[in-house]
């Protein structure tokens, strides 16, 4: 749609850029400056030995949608925090509309006209939309007038939003709109979005892109951080690729292929998953029968009559947007939330009443979505974390722990799954998200489970590691293990699953073979029966 008229000039850092095609209605920048909206020169930030940003230079023209592409841990978020004033650079200059500025703190950034939509929302659940916005705008405010402005701005940009609703009743997509509207009310000239689509349905992503294109046409510059190549190709004018804290390339995404972008981003070819057929006997290993559970807390989702079955040798994927009962379902299956005995059946044995330890004894492995604090104890070493679930592999005798065995097990996981760390004595929190995930997946797999539950297998994991993890799961299933994967990333489910089911508002639609589903249809189901507000 709007992509056709998006021919804003690209990578012309030193030259002035022609003014945006349409009159600038937002932003006080009615006088278009001759310089770049934002120019960074040699930004460097060190955390002890780690160089998060190494002499990064970047320029963003007015009305440009500029992608910052890089793996997790490449230094994208640090760079954005520097621009937004949340972190101070050790060296380097920042020019704003051609003028050198010192962004001491986010408040200064906001006053300059920099808005940031965070990956994790910072909203108060018990307050209304307009109250949340008023809190950030600060100063004296008139809620009624502000609500009117919120309504106006949200309709103007197609971000339908009821200012008087409480945040806890909003979907994740709507919460993101609150964040965006909150930024727009401050008349930004530059909008930074950090992985904004990780929680959206495909339809919501399209709506978001329309809004961003409209903003760009009005002269707002957009810095778009992501590692999703197809999004960047469809949305962004220019891309700056960062790897290990350095700029490794500039590109015009539309002129590149996903493979060439991936190469710039990870420094090598993106591995493709190989899906072999399963040759063993198919028999149901995990069955869920009419599982209903009331919501465990006021903001939770109740599960309604869920039935499914996972066969040996297959991966069943559960698609859906977080907050539709995924946590509750996984907790009920893992045993963290007890349920009716017959509701969960493992190899013909009713296990709904058993606790997680007893279920694990019977061969049920689980990789939770929260790695630190749930899948691993942050301050403990990897060897001690191996003990967390693998203790049943002979590591405890007469109540005493055999530290040697635990360390050996941890070393084995580290070696087999390529966990990058200083060794089995490294604390779990010292590992990057992806490496800790490899460790946890490895720990569960090394215990030869019959059924493996995996929640968000590659959340926050860099592209290379994600591909490795997906392949690992496929290979494990082909050994006859039944795997249930819950993921928000549809492409991931399409890549690894044999069948896909959609969970929306605590109800599970019947699984379909991958060949029979398409993303469009699943996206609609993900939005739920009452479909996300249009």
């Amino acid at each position: 749609m709007a992509s056709a008229d998006l021919s804003v000039p690209a990578i012309s850092s030193d030259l002035g850029v022609s003014p945006p095609a349409e009159p600038v209605s937002l932003a006080a920048a009615s006088v278009v400056p001759a310089a770049d909206r934002l120019q960074l020169i040699g930004i460097t930030k060190r955390y002890h030995a780690l160089v998060a940003n190494d002499a990064i230079s970047l320029s963003v023209a007015p009305g440009q949608i500029h992608a910052v592409l890089g793996e997790n841990g490449a230094g994208k978020s640090t760079l954005m925090k520097i621009i937004y004033g949340a972190v101070r650079a050790d060296a380097g200059e920042m020019l704003w509309n051609g003028r050198q500025v010192q962004v001491e703190n986010p408040d200064v950034a906001r006053r300059l006209g920099i808005g940031m939509v965070f990956q994790h929302f910072s909203l108060f659940e018990t307050l209304t939309v307009v109250e949340n916005i008023a809190l950030v705008l600060g100063g004296r405010f008139d809620l009624a007038a502000l609500a009117e402005r919120v309504r106006k701005v949200s309709t103007q940009y197609g971000l339908s939003l009821d200012p008087l609703r409480r945040v806890h009743s909003l979907s994740v997509g709507e919460r993101q709109r609150v964040e965006i509207v909150r930024c727009l009310l401050q008349d930004p000239q530059l909008l930074i979005l950090d992985e904004p689509t990780s929680v959206l349905t495909p339809q919501a992503v399209q709506k978001l892109f329309q809004t961003l294109r409209q903003l760009a046409r009005e002269g707002v510059s957009i810095l778009y951080i992501s590692h999703k190549l197809h999004e960047i190709q469809s949305l962004c004018d220019v891309a700056t690729v960062i790897r290990a804290g350095r700029v490794t390339g500039h590109a015009i995404p539309r002129e590149e292929t996903p493979a060439s972008l991936a190469r710039m981003m990870i420094g090598r070819e993106l591995p493709q998953c190989a899906v072999a057929p399963y040759l063993g006997v198919s028999r149901p290993l995990l069955e869920v029968n009419h599982l209903s559970l009331p919501a465990p807390d006021p903001f939770g989702t109740s599960l309604q009559d869920i039935s499914l079955s996972v066969q040996a040798g297959e991966i069943l994927g559960i698609a859906g947007i977080s907050g539709n009962g995924q946590n509750e379902l996984m907790a009920a299956l893992s045993g963290e939330l007890p349920c009716a005995s017959e509701a969960v059946v493992l190899e013909g044995r009713a296990i709904g009443h058993l606790d997680p330890g007893a279920r694990r004894d019977l061969g049920l492995g689980f990789v939770p979505e929260e790695r630190l604090g749930r899948g691993a104890v942050p301050a403990m070493s990897l060897a001690r974390n191996a003990l967390l679930t693998a203790h049943r592999r002979g590591m405890v005798r007469l109540g005493l722990v055999n530290d040697g065995l635990a360390a050996a097990f941890a070393r084995q996981v580290i070696a087999r799954f390529g966990v990058k760390c200083s060794g089995e004595a490294a604390a779990a929190r010292a590992l990057s998200g992806g490496n800790l995930q490899k460790f946890i997946v490895g720990r569960e797999m090394e215990q030869s489970p019959k059924v493996l539950l995996v929640s968000q297998p590659t959340w926050g994991v860099d592209v290379g590691a994600a591909a490795q993890l997906r392949q690992t799961l496929i290979d494990l299933s082909r050994e006859g293990v039944a795997i249930l994967v819950v993921s928000e990333e549809l492409e991931e489910l399409f890549e690894i699953c044999d069948r896909i089911a959609v969970l929306a508002a605590g109800r599970l639609a019947a699984p379909q073979a991958k060949a029979d589903c398409n993303a469009e249809q699943i996206g609609l189901r993900m939005a739920g029966p009452q479909a996300e507000a249009a």
Binding site: P356, G357, G373, R374, G375, V377, P378, L388, L400, V401
Partner: protein
Amino acid sequence: MHLLEPRAEPSRTLQWAAPPLAILLMLLAGSLLFLVLGRNPVEAFRVFFIQPLESGYGWSELLLKAGPLILIAEGLAIGFRARIYNIGAEGQLIFGAICAGGVAIYAQGHEGHWTLPAMVLAGALGGLFWGAIPALLKTHFNAEETLTTLMLTYVANFLLSWLVHIPWRDPQGMNFPQSVMFSDAELFTPLFEGSRLNTSIGLAVVAVVVFQVLVRRSFLAYRLEVGGQAPTAARYAGFSQRATIWVSLCVSGMMAGLAGVGEVAGPIGQLNLNLSPGYGYAAIIVAYLGRLHPLGIVLSGLLMALLYLGGEAAQMTLQLPAAITGLFQGMLLFFLLGTDAFIDNRLRLPRRNA
């Protein structure tokens, strides 16, 4: 203004440096206090910290007081690691002492070799029972253990008071609220002629060894620690939170009960209203000062015992009020909490900007 900002990583150095630093600050503040009171700080320091250790008797008194502190603190530390905050060890000590004392009183006239072991057992079970009550309240009614343990201390105190005023009062005791004196078979044997230090110190020695093995090697302690550091991970692993609560409170209660036996069957030799000079509370400081580490607690227990002795010496030699002991304990805790804040945080220095 926020003066503190979180560190990226907790400081390992400060984790170990905080206790010595807190002790140093306590000494500095103590010196100032002595100055204000018109005493020579050097002299006061000598009276407080050196004089008690100038004789063999002084050392024996030090160990006598360190014994119960270490016993209680070892038990408390197990719970504190699991984030179960038993602050009623004083009550568990008293109830353990009541149980042991009861055995002693009813055994009078037919006591034998069995009496002292029976008292130890009764005291341990009594303390355990007094710790089990808050565990029951927490697991069934979600009652905060900090409140219930503390309140049960008052209950234990009143119970003791009633017992020594009415049913167990010594008929020949000139109406003083105290029981009969226990016989030799009901007391721990003194280790040296003329000292009050007795064989009950062996309990503390054994406890240190047992707890060292327990904390370093046992799967039980691992589960408790996971429960304390990351409750969600404990649930994920299938470690029972209820078991954590029961074990923490029962073990710490039992250790406090043992300390109570050591007192009534040791230097006190009867039940009366002054069973403990606040050992149950001081042991909380001991546990944290010793970094909840079984061997660290030995050092901090000795220091706390020295504070007790120094406080007594200061009363006698410097004519300072009895509150001086509590004052030093308080300062120590205050400075420890203060320095501990810097393990996870650092000072944000005001930037001078143009």
